[in-house]
Symmetry: C2
Subunit: 240 residues, 2 copies
Amino acid sequence: MCATTEQELRQYPLFRNCSDSFFTDMANDAHVLKTSKGQVLFLHDDPAERFYYISSGWVKLFRETLDGAQAVVDVFTRENIIGEGALFEDNIYPYTAEVVESGSLISLSLSILNRELQSNNQFTNDMLGFMARNKRQKDKEIEHISLQNAPQRIGCFILGFLNKTEGEATIHLPYDKTLVASRLGMQPETFSRALGKLKVSTGINVKGATIEVSDIETLVSFSCVACSAEFPCKELCSKC
Amino acid sequence: MCATTEQELRQYPLFRNCSDSFFTDMANDAHVLKTSKGQVLFLHDDPAERFYYISSGWVKLFRETLDGAQAVVDVFTRENIIGEGALFEDNIYPYTAEVVESGSLISLSLSILNRELQSNNQFTNDMLGFMARNKRQKDKEIEHISLQNAPQRIGCFILGFLNKTEGEATIHLPYDKTLVASRLGMQPETFSRALGKLKVSTGINVKGATIEVSDIETLVSFSCVACSAEFPCKELCSKC
């Protein structure tokens, strides 16, 4: 188990310049968690000792407002880490993490991560670049909420799952429509209306969680006109 | 000039753990710019060699979409740096910077900043914390756009300028209403309507750029109910 975990961590790009002792100590301390839908991994404002590498499944990060609404900060799948931000928040989790699709995680030590950050400047710089890219994605998300209309934002979200830039494509939504709506900062009814408009404007076809795009370029010219980046964008569009 | 600049840089909290050679080399290379409203400091996508410390005045950061709309990423005033993000974007500025209120800047070398990041791990960690706080502010901004209504968002913006938590207060908007609207991701007409509603709901009084808050607690209970943080918030609300 330990050797497999170490191998998985060594393949994670953010850790490419970490020391051998980092991998050994992390793997010795790590444990693998099988997760089930609805499971809460940690709570907003709780003291933090662990962060998680997602091997499979989906996890949403959110906060709740005083009046009970839920703000979905992000939704992550495999080959991402979550909870590491607590290191920069006085070891307090800045949001709640809940499993939205079952899978597998590796639970990892924040203090070993912190030790590496304090002693390995190349890794600290890698982490800085990682954080800067995250911040840029947030900037773009704010831009999109401000300047794109709802159908364009759904179009951008779909484009983020394509692995080609022209022709036709079929994708499967990774999680349910309510969560997609929430991730895009829309009420479910706004999302449904906007998806209807997007179908009319771009000829996409939606069957449950499957979306057929008959012409990617039509979808691009519809969605990306209200964006400051050009398609295909540098950032992963599913998060931008 | 050089000694004053060095002193100003030494007082900037982010640089608190920088080396003596960093300050000396930065100050020797730095030059002070008097800025005027409308002046463009750098353009989105241009190659970057300098970043700027704002001594006075206001600067907005924005990007333009393909259809010509402007997305205001942030608006900064004194004791902030801008343009440093290019270091993490292949030395390309990720947005355009334009002066919105005249003042004074110090133009600084990105390569000296980068040298310090590569050689001083304490500073790299400080920069990481700085970036993490920036990202959290963006998360909160996205939460607010998604979950607060327009009057609540203006209320939150106003609360960010207060230096006390109860009683009455008078503040002066730092820049014109159109820019405040844009910073909050609203159309000017939405902003005007929302400001009208905020006046009715909280008893604030607006005279040009001056806002009189008769009871801070009323403004707090109106605005902060749709937020996951409690007032007074850890982050500067004017940026959250």
